[in-house]
């Protein structure tokens, strides 16, 4: 059948099982938009308000569904607007295919109107990218793009397609021959020798600890993780993106590690004699000072990306492979074990951690602490919502106070820490999982970076709830200023718009919350509305996320919450 390049793009998307495309049109991608209406019965297009939003939506969609998210934009400014979203997906290993229009091949390199070298720009922030200048290359490039995005360590792939390639016609049959990617061979399994060495370390350990990361969910290894932890009685610490890898109510699940991790978890890491790192990459935010990191432990590291092994932390057994496959190999050799002394020691640390926890303080009635608001949101949603955060203090409080029982229920920008991610990603999440209750928990700062997507949520009637944790500050930066820069609050206080009126201007139902008492009813109200809602929580302005490991400090040298007597009326003024 004779098809245009533009039609071939849509045919390929359908073949790849794409249900939804987040995009924004413009000159160089116009042929593809022109061809779109023929396909709209099979694929949905969501018109965003900024191309960054398209990439974050595709990202949220990909993280919740495990499928490849697709974003589309025009050349030049459309493509460059995608850069932040692509880099975000790259750092968190999210499979995306970004399709950009490009100026006609005849004028490539001439600084034509809206020409930009987007394959050059995205070279270091994509897993791979393609420049397609001929209709015949479209289908092969898109097939490879989807394959590369979703296999191995997933990541974003950009396909830049010139306008003339979109307009050219060819006799099209969807190619079915095997993909020719001789240089692309993701690792899969461990060698028997590696398994043997890992098992020996596990059997000999007295204080073992599993570090579970995003890779647990990406390889679908939750069941194997649970089985190993239970059988060998090994406690599990989670990275930020690893939350959901194991139910947080499980007695062996200790919670989050790292800069704002629970003190007990960091203490356990520093005292362990064996670390089993699964699908995580020893980011500086989880290790603190590398020289003093977990000094007494042997280390087993399983990751799909061989270059992560021995990158930051030297390990004794490094296995490049798919985590689930490797755990399946490992499990038959792991006997029942027990570590009662170790687990008791950790319980003691946990009790001391709980002692200092903010949720054990009763705030005076006129104060609303963000941590309380988030804990109440957890309760009011039955702990079962999919929570998408932005970046800042509210993100860390969410990680600490919204507990997760199921995989893929915390979605957050970990590696890049992209402000503006939360709200658009939540739209993508809801569109990918319509049956889920979705809450975006965002800061007043980050929300304002992408709040134009309120119009998208309204136009598409996306039933997503936005909790703005409004502290009238770039709170996390203010915290650093308080701790490390002599309390000089330069460029962090914010005069914000009236968020309720703002939402209403977009036709979105909105409410404001000032006290804890209002929260359950407000959440119920938000859930009762079939469409987007915005809830502004006006919280304490100068609050602190505790504990905190200062950047580069030893993991157990945490700044802890000061110990005020219980129920001190206003402890926040004493720190």
């Amino acid at each position: 059948m004779e098809l245009t390049g533009a039609e071939i793009i849509w045919e390929c998307l359908l073949r790849e099982g794409v249900e939804i495309v987040f995009g924004y049109p413009g000159g160089a991608i116009l042929p593809t938009y022109d061809a779109m209406n023929k396909y709209l019965d099979r694929v949905r297009h969501v018109l965003v308000r900024h191309e960054q939003g398209a990439t974050h939506m595709a990202d949220g969609y990909a993280r919740i569904t495990g499928k490849v998210g697709v974003a589309m934009a025009t050349s030049g400014p459309g493509a460059t607007n995608m850069v932040t979203g692509i880099a975000t997906a790259m750092m968190d290993s999210v499979p995306l295919v970004c399709i950009t229009g490009q100026v006609p091949s005849t004028v490539l390199g001439s600084d034509a109107f809206q020409e930009t070298d987007i394959t050059g720009i995205t070279l270091p922030i994509t897993k791979h990218n393609f420049l397609v200048t001929n209709v015949k290359q479209i289908a092969p490039a898109l097939r490879k793009a989807f394959h590369i995005a979703r296999t191995g360590r997933p990541g974003p792939v950009l396909v830049d397609i010139t306008k003339d390639a979109q307009n050219q016609k060819m006799d099209f049959v969807y190619p079915t021959e095997p993909l020719r990617l001789p240089g692309y061979v993701p690792p899969s399994a461990a060698t028997p020798e590696q398994i043997e060495r890992a098992v020996a370390l596990i059997k000999n350990a007295e204080r073992p600890l599993i570090l579970a990361g995003h890779g647990v969910m990406m390889s679908g290894a939750e069941r194997q993780l649970l089985e190993l932890a239970e059988r060998a009685q090994i406690p599990v610490a989670l990275t930020l993106l690893g939350k959901g890898a194991m139910p947080e109510s499980h007695p062996l699940c200790l919670g989050m590690m790292g800069m704002h991790g629970a003190a007990a978890v960091n203490q356990a890491i520093q005292s362990a004699d064996l670390l089993l790192a699964f699908g995580m990459r020893f980011d500086d935010r989880v290790t603190g000072n590398l020289r003093t990191y977990s000094p007494h432990s042997r280390k087993i590291h399983i990751d799909i990306d061989a270059s992560e092994l021995n990158k930051n932390v030297k390990v004794d057994v490094g296995i490049a492979g798919d985590l689930r496959t490797v755990l399946e190999q490992l499990l038959p050799h792991v006997p029942s074990l027990s570590h009662p002394a170790w687990l008791n020691q950790i319980r003691d640390w946990q009790e001391e951690t709980d002692e200092r926890d903010i949720i054990n303080y009763v705030a005076p009635s006129d104060k609303l602490y963000a941590a309380h608001a988030i804990r109440d949101l957890w309760q009011a949603t039955g702990g079962d919502a999919v929570v998408v955060t932005d970046v800042g203090q509210h993100q860390m409080w969410t990680a600490q106070y919204y507990l997760h029982q199921r995989p893929r229920t915390l979605i957050t920008s970990g590696g890049l820490g992209t402000m503006g991610f939360g709200f658009p990603a939540a739209i993508g999440v809801k569109l990918g999982a319509p049956h889920e209750t979705v809450w975006a928990i965002v800061g007043d700062g980050g929300f304002q970076m992408t709040l134009c997507e309120l119009a998208t949520a309204a136009q598409e009637n996306v039933d997503v709830n936005v909790a703005i944790i409004n502290n009238a500050y770039l709170g996390m930066v203010r915290q650093w200023q308080e701790f490390f820069h002599g309390e000089r609050y330069n460029a962090t206080p914010m005069h914000n718009p009236d968020f309720v009126k703002l939402a209403e201007a977009y036709g979105i139902a909105a409410r404001r919350v000032r006290t804890r008492a209002e929260i359950p009813e407000t959440v119920a109200w938000a859930h009762s509305i079939n469409g987007p809602t915005v809830v502004e929580f006006q919280v304490e302005k100068e609050d602190i996320v505790y504990p905190m490991v200062p950047a580069g400090a030893d993991l157990d040298k945490m700044i802890r919450r000061p110990v005020p007597p219980r129920n001190l009326p206003d402890w926040s003024e004493n720190h």
Binding site: L123, P124, K127, I148, P182, G183, D305, S307, K311
Partner: protein
């Protein structure tokens, strides 16, 4: 310590750029990088020399493998191998310079306008000695290709599916 990596890459536009971009982004310091054609028109071959005191060889190797167009990476440092660096050196024509050239087995490619172009292809260290020996005689212009290397005998570098 100096290490020599040989990478076979798909002969596609932009591959050299991808490798260079990787080195820059990962803060890998490279002594030299050469690229050229091979017995297979679909495959180019890169020789990468780096110093393991500055840059981690395992990380370079693993990150090269992450590039979709990189087929195979070999570390040939420990293998019996030969290597060549080619230098063209333009010096003021003199009997002394000609003596140095003949001592090192360099050829005189050009002799005009009172200048000579000397051509030496040898191991990197010897090329360096050659250049040092010429320096007192007035080097006007100098270009080197960077190192290319090849394993001896049955130490053959070949992409597996073409083997």
């Amino acid at each position: 310590m100096k290490h020599t990596l040989v990478a076979l890459v798909e002969n596609e536009p932009g591959v050299l750029n991808r490798v260079a971009s990787l080195f820059r982004r990962r803060n890998f310091n490279i002594d030299s990088l050469t690229v050229g054609r091979t017995e297979d028109p679909n495959i180019s071959r890169m020789t990468i020399v780096l110093d393991s005191d500055v840059t981690r060889v395992d990380q370079v190797q693993k990150n090269l493998y992450k590039l979709v167009n990189v087929l195979q990476v070999y570390e040939i440092t420990q293998q019996p191998s030969v290597s060549r660096d080619l230098a063209l050196v333009k010096v003021r024509a003199s009997a002394e310079a000609a003596v140095v050239a003949s001592q090192f087995g360099a050829r005189i490619l050009d002799h005009s306008d009172g200048l000579m172009i000397l051509d030496l292809s040898d191991e990197e260290g010897r090329v360096e000695q050659f250049i040092e020996a010429l320096r007192p005689h007035g080097i006007v212009e100098l270009v080197r290709t960077g190192v290319v290397a090849m394993g001896r005998g049955n130490h053959i570098v070949r992409a597996p599916q073409f083997a």
